[in-house]
């Protein structure tokens, strides 16, 4: 018991406390940090890039979370029944997960290039007028990155949900069918409640993954064009490690941490309350 606690304390809690302290200082990595109170937090309020990043993070959380959960669940339900080549489909959909996010980013960057695959597909279905520089246009860049991220995440969530579906009791479903419940009703009122445990895991994974998203944005756009794809994580990296504003960078890290914590505690409290009832 003592050993893991010690290891955890040294490698996790101590750095975390340190970063909390750093967020109250001004520090460029050289010399002693200079205590500035909450100035890093107040200057966030007037920082337009921070606001943009925050908005983008909300879009990302909802878009990335929503699309990958819906996609993953739909695929899991579709591929849950045994049929021909089902293993092949599952593997194919899970395959993108084996690439790192950075590789995924580089791969999609090629697809999005002018006259690239995406443009050809858009042109091929007669929507050639909509072909554009997906990653260079601030109106589409964030969504273009989001699609790439969902493409990778969806297989992962599918596997989680498949595992959850395997744990569902098929006799409940049969009983409901005999009672005359429609397919949707059976899914909504019989299957979904049994997936509650999986949902908690999926929710936590999704919130954490979307708040720590960094590599895919960094490789695809670097946060540009003009901060339109900036997320809190990329902005934190830029402030902390490119500009050496380690105090401000730490303050951003604390904000990300609080956001993650807030979401997850709210959810866990809600889930726990439902379980009691």
């Amino acid at each position: 018991m003592a050993v893991p606690v010690v290891v955890e304390a040294v490698w996790v809690f101590w750095p975390a406390v340190n970063s909390l302290w750093l967020s109250l200082t001004k520090w460029n990595g050289a010399g002693p940090p200079q205590f500035v109170g909450f100035r890093n937090y107040t200057s966030m309020a007037s920082d337009p890039v921070f606001r943009q990043a925050l908005v983008n993070n909300v879009i990302w959380l909802v878009g990335f979370g929503g699309l990958s959960v819906i996609g993953g669940l739909a695929l899991a339900v579709a591929l849950n029944r045994p049929r021909r080549l089902v293993g092949l489909y599952r593997s194919a959909i899970y395959l993108p997960m084996v690439f790192s996010l950075a590789v995924t980013g580089l791969f999609w960057r090629v697809l999005y290039q002018p006259d690239g695959v995406v443009d050809s597909v858009v042109g091929g279905v007669g929507l050639g007028a909509f072909a554009k520089q997906w990653l260079a246009d601030p109106d589409t860049a964030l969504w273009a990155v989001l699609v790439a991220a969902v493409w990778r995440q969806v297989g992962y969530l599918m596997v989680l949900y498949l595992a959850g579906l395997k744990g569902c009791d098929p006799t409940l479903d049969d009983a409901a069918a005999i009672d005359g419940a429609s397919a949707w009703q059976r899914f909504r009122y019989v299957t979904m409640p049994q997936l509650r445990g999986v949902n908690t895991v999926v929710f936590a994974v999704t919130v954490i993954d979307s708040l720590r998203t960094f590599d895919i944005v960094w490789t695809m756009t670097g946060g540009g064009p003009y901060h339109s794809t900036e997320l809190l994580s990329t902005y934190m990296f830029e402030q902390g490690f490119t500009f050496l504003n380690l105090g401000y960078g730490s303050a951003l890290a604390v904000v990300i941490f609080l956001l993650a914590l807030g979401f997850i505690i709210t959810y866990l409290v809600r889930a726990a309350r439902q379980e009691v009832i």
Binding site: A9, V10, V17, G29, R109, Y112, P225, F241, T242
Partner: protein, 428 residues
């Protein structure tokens, strides 16, 4: 419940004990990879090179150095940049480090981090015969030399000779001539200018900004502007943007999705005619087209402004806290020696220029020789936007200039926002 209480208390005790231990040990933070350099009498050279050929070249040069044993560490650029203050400020720092000349080095010197190497710049010192422009560049605010430049490269408008012949056009020397050249090319269905500002590399858009400012307002104004002594929404900068706007119809819009190197491809393919970029672009040109690449000077807009060029300079500095001052200077002298410079440039297959006038350049390509002459003719040298200011100010330029490329009609609004962003950097 009881169990969790115990574990919580256990955690708190453990955390407190360890916190103390870590706090005590915390003093030795930094310079992680440099440890062990001090007492053994070995020198440490901390370098950030990522491309294989230059890396190999530096390894070979150090292998040939017999005076002391040198430990050569390679660190990825982002990490190197972030750790640099820590490296320099640790109690047992790496002795010699690679970095850039100009404002960035001067900034560290003003904090007292850099070794004074003025003696290398006088008498029979290794840098004594280097050009006055390089000396000025390596001098800090107190008039001391703190940097040893070993190579630099030039910026110019690159093009393919055979393509220009095919289209029947010639390089232009004046602004009106250049715009006419662009119009002619566009009339022939060729995109006049390539510029790769996409794929996370918006800094490329600063190339034209820097040059137009140098041509219209001169190098002194440009440096002062980047240092915060002038405003980005001043009439002078508005003139620069007016000239930049004249170029916009000729710039390849697809460049917004390409990075600095990828944008060389349309030039090689003959789809785009010209590209204002650094001499490093030759590394992206296939071998069979290499001899076909030529460049010309960015056209003159105002003949009364002394001609300045961008010549980003790389080299080395040493830590003020180095425990081996004499040996570090010997290593710096070796790295700046004609033989080492020549070996580095030839092995790394770059189009970099040597800083030592004694390097035998006869074996370098005609393009590089033209580059040497080109820079020798210029009255003043600047580095590039980020090197003349800071990486942080560079991002304000990136935001402003890429927005300008998309919305040139909002130029006044963009410049006002740029000034506000820049002030946040200057007065933090």
């Amino acid at each position: 419940m009881a169990g969790s209480m115990v574990s919580r208390r256990g955690f708190l005790t453990g955390a407190a004990a360890l916190g103390g231990a870590v706090a005590l040990g915390g003093c030795v933070s930094g310079g992680s990879s440099s440890s062990g350099s001090g007492s053994t009498g070995k020198l440490t050279l901390q370098a950030t090179l990522s491309t294989p050929q230059p890396k190999k070249a530096l390894q070979d040069i150090i292998a040939d150095y017999k005076k002391q044993q040198v430990t050569l560490n390679f660190v990825a650029l982002e990490q190197f940049r972030a750790q640099l203050p820590t490296y320099l400020n640790s109690s047992n720092p790496p002795d010699v480090l690679t970095w850039y000349a100009g404002s960035v080095a001067r900034d560290y010197a003003s904090k007292g981090f850099l070794l004074d190497v003025s003696d290398m710049w006088e008498g029979s010192g290794a840098c004594a015969k280097f050009s006055p422009a390089l000396k000025k560049l390596s001098t800090d605010d107190k008039g001391r030399q703190i940097f040893v430049p070993t190579s630099y490269y030039w910026w110019g408008i690159f093009y393919r000779k055979s393509m220009f012949q095919k289209w029947g056009v010639e390089p232009a020397e004046t602004w009106s001539g250049f715009l006419k050249l662009c119009r002619t090319l566009k009339g022939k269905g060729v995109v006049p200018l390539s510029m790769g500002t996409g794929a996370g590399q918006p800094w490329v858009a600063s190339g034209w900004f820097d040059y137009l400012d140098l041509r219209i307002n001169g190098a002194t104004f440009h440096r002062d502007l980047l240092a915060g002594k002038h405003r980005f929404d001043s009439p002078e900068v508005k003139d620069v943007m007016k000239a930049y706007k004249e170029l916009l119809p000729f710039i390849d819009p697809k460049g917004k999705s390409l990075d600095v190197t990828q944008a060389v491809t349309p030039l090689v393919q003959g789809k785009d005619a010209m590209y204002l970029t650094g001499a490093f672009m030759t590394a992206a040109v296939p071998k069979d087209a290499a001899d076909d690449i030529d460049f010309f000077r960015v056209p003159i807009l105002d003949t009364s402004v002394p001609v300045a060029e961008e010549a980003p300079t790389d080299g080395y500095f040493a830590s003020a806290k180095s425990k081996h001052v004499k040996e570090s200077k010997q290593l710096l002298a070796y790295l700046a020696s004609p033989a080492a410079e020549q070996k580095y440039i030839q092995e790394s297959a770059s189009s970099n220029l040597p800083t030592s006038p004694k390097v035998d350049t006869s074996k370098f390509s005609p393009l590089v020789q033209k580059g040497i002459q080109f820079l020798n003719e210029s009255k003043d040298l600047t580095q590039f936007f980020n090197r003349d200011s800071s990486d942080e100010l560079q991002t304000t330029a990136d935001t402003a200039l890429t927005k300008f490329l998309d919305h040139p009609d909002q130029v006044d609004k963009i410049l006002t926002a740029w000034q506000a962003d820049a002030e946040r950097v200057w007065h933090k």
